[in-house]
């Protein structure tokens, strides 16, 4: 470490029904909480919140890791964060071709749907596909430290 001082860390566990996706102490986390993105540092207050489909950003040792998470929950204590998501994928794990295909299908479904329920489902699918593409593109473009919105503009 540059200043010879070990920075404080917070244990992060990202768990999905299929596996433990991530588990180690990190410096900070930015998570898609129910009403928008929130940042979490060690010593955060107790919090239990719904998570939206979005990008989970993990910062540690000057490195930024991004994950596409599908809706779930997050429990925060001062020393520990548990993210329980339906699915969580690192950029490397995302199949861009498949995500593009899913996006196309979701758009088609939205165009065709006449009922509210199918429209909502299609929207959720589209959101997931776009979210995964977003995370995959961070990796591709090597755009570190830029905001999501900026990156999206560049990717268009």
């Amino acid at each position: 470490m540059a200043y010879g001082v070990a920075r404080k860390k917070i244990q992060l566990d990202v768990v999905t029904p299929d596996k433990v996706e991530f588990s180690r102490p990190v410096e900070s986390i930015i998570a898609p909480a129910w009403d928008g993105y929130i940042g979490i540092l060690p010593g955060h207050m107790h919090l239990l919140t719904n998570l939206q489909t979005g990008v989970l950003t993990i910062k540690d040792e000057g490195e930024e890791i991004r994950m596409a998470v599908r809706e779930g929950f997050m429990e925060v204590t001062p020393t520990k964060v548990v993210v329980l998501a339906e699915a969580a994928e690192m950029a490397e794990e995302i199949d861009v071709e498949r995500a593009l295909e899913a996006k196309r299908q979701a758009e088609e479904m939205m165009a065709r749907s006449t009922e509210h329920i199918t429209l909502v489902k299609a929207q959720a699918r589209l959101q997931r596909a776009v979210n995964r593409l977003k995370v995959a593109r961070y990796k591709e473009n090597g755009l570190k430290g830029t905001s999501g919105a900026e990156n999206e503009r560049r990717a268009e």
Binding site: P17, D18, W34, M45, N50, E75, L84, E86
Partner: protein, 299 residues
């Protein structure tokens, strides 16, 4: 001579049987590994979600969720997970025995509503005149979370519609390849295991302390909103985990059964070969002594 031919035919048949049991054994071994890995990988999620739910429920003195509360029981739902196919030793028998035992305790067939997973479970309860409301077959091949979601939602719908007032899950817990434990798990009213044992990540609080805890902790958007989603997800996770445990158990049971069958066949072949050789030798000896006797008579 007739006798010798019969033994030879017997040996050939057993060889063929062994061929099949050995093939099934190899297939079971290969599938067991991935099934076991998936079952173990699914455990942390089920455990964590159970902990979070237990935490939240313990903070609310009177959890405002029907699935946590329970109600007077008129009908009991039994979700029984067995296999689609046989040739897996006592696996199905053990689960069905336990399910029947549970059924007796709950007051017999007329009070029960069966949700059968796997062909064997379905046929068993149908044959005994139980009310089999739902039957899913051919899902043990490779259970997905989407399947579990569907089944869990089905169960919750039945509860909300008043079809059942209490639900148990009967499945087999994978311990080791040679050991599977049939278990009964209470699904509704939901008692997350972490709550039952009091072992959650936060210090437990009595009803009196809950007001204070609500102060110290933020819940967004609201305790009720999180609880509603959490209960759904918890139910799905529990069902998913049970499906995976059952799959691994079935593979393990089949591997054990087929290994035993293959070993038995080998032993039988050995015994028959010894018998065959001894009899052949006896025939040869007799023939020689006849030839010798004949030669002596001529001299």
């Amino acid at each position: 001579m007739e006798n010798l031919r019969r033994i030879r035919r017997h040996i050939r048949v057993i060889r063929e049987v062994r061929h099949i049991t050995r093939a099934m054994k190899l297939v079971a071994a290969a599938k067991l590994r991935s099934a076991q890995e998936r079952a173990q990988a699914a455990r942390p999620f089920a455990r964590k979600i159970s902990e979070v739910l237990a935490d939240l429920a313990s903070m609310m003195p009177d959890p405002p969720h029907p699935i946590l509360k329970g109600r007077p029981v008129r009908h009991v739902g039994l979700v029984v997970i067995a296999s689609d196919r046989g040739l897996c030793g006592r696996y199905n028998q053990d689960i069905l025995d336990l399910a029947m035992q549970q059924a007796q305790q709950m007051g017999g067939p007329e009070k029960l509503v069966i949700m059968a997973m796997g062909r064997v479970a379905r046929d068993f309860f149908r044959a005994r005149g139980f009310n089999v409301r739902v039957a899913h077959v051919r899902l043990s091949r490779r259970p997905t979370f989407a399947w579990a979601e569907r089944i869990a939602n089905e169960i919750m719908d039945f509860y909300n519609q008043g079809v059942v007032d209490r639900v148990y899950l009967v499945y087999s817990q994978f311990v080791t390849t040679t050991r599977q434990e049939p278990r009964v798990f209470q699904l509704i009213p939901a008692v997350p295991p972490a709550m039952a044992s009091g072992g959650s990540s936060l210090p437990a609080s009595g009803p009196g302390a809950s007001g204070l805890k609500l102060w110290k902790r933020a819940i967004e958007p609201s305790a009720e909103a999180v609880l509603n989603r959490l209960v759904d997800r918890y139910m799905q996770a529990v069902v998913y985990r049970a499906l995976l445990e059952a799959e691994a158990s079935e593979r393990g049971a089949r591997l054990t059964a087929m290994t035993a069958a293959t070993d038995n066949a080998t032993e039988l072949i050995e015994r028959l070969s010894t018998l065959y050789n001894r009899q052949r030798q006896a025939v040869i000896t007799r023939e020689i002594s006849e030839v010798v006797a004949g030669a002596e008579a001529v001299h």
